[in-house]
Amino acid sequence: MYRQASRLLIRALGGGRPVGRAFSTDAPAVPVEDSTFVEAWKKVAPNLEPPKTPLSFMKPRPPTPSSIPSKLTVNFVLPYQSEISNKEVDMIIVPATTGQMGVLPGHVATIAELKPGVLSVHDGNEVTKYFVSSGFAFIHANSITDVVAVEAVPVDHIDPSLVQKGLADFTQKLSSAATDLEKAEAQIGVDVHSALNAALSG
């Protein structure tokens, strides 16, 4: 009975795993079984099947296509929900710290830190805009882009009067700030509110 236990357990775990997300992983191109582990296991427990290691569960990294794909696959996730999952679009513009960065299919692999700003997703004629508080954008060589942010809202969820008030508050705090930390916090407030302002008017 115990001989089958590990196999049954693994089947239970493996069956519940969600399949089909094209999150491009950093797994090697070929699924690898850790051979030293398997051998060591066989020496200790020759009658039990070795359990699978996380490495063998990970999907192999999708190969970089030789020709540039026609569409960009976007995954946009927040800690509490997945905004866009595996959507094929023409282009996205991310608010990187180095400026608004347009990502087209075939973009070079990049990791970009985001500043508070507008993320726009362009698909044909439709454009969807989100205001992103901060985060990162990972562009992989196979034209899959993962954007992660802590908070992202559609631009029409923003209240202009609160933004103006916040901007005035923080500008005032910035001029009266004493310690480095207070100055930094006030500066962050000014940056975020200015970006919100620009998002509303732009």
Binding site: S133, S134, V153, G166, D180, A184, Q187, H193
Partner: protein
């Protein structure tokens, strides 16, 4: 990592120069954005700001009584 900023050659962002970590910066940005939302969205977002955790200080190799903290955005 956050050593004397003047000595390092990398251009550090102002918040790191002030001693703040990226996570703190990111969380502050997120809570500022949440505070600028229109009404129904703002109250939904308020639930995301809540944190609930227990801290135990250790003394003489033994944990003392844990304090449970439940912070809501008003702090």
């Amino acid at each position: 990592m956050a050593s004397a900023a003047a000595g390092s050659s990398a251009a550090v962002p102002f918040w790191r120069a002030a001693g703040m970590t990226y996570i703190t910066y990111s969380n502050i940005c997120a809570s500022l954005v949440r505070s600028c939302l229109k009404e129904p969205y703002k109250s939904e977002a308020a639930s995301r700001e809540k944190v609930h955790f227990a801290i135990s200080k250790w003394a003489d190799g033994k944990p003392e009584k844990p304090t449970v903290r439940s912070d809501s955005p008003e702090e």
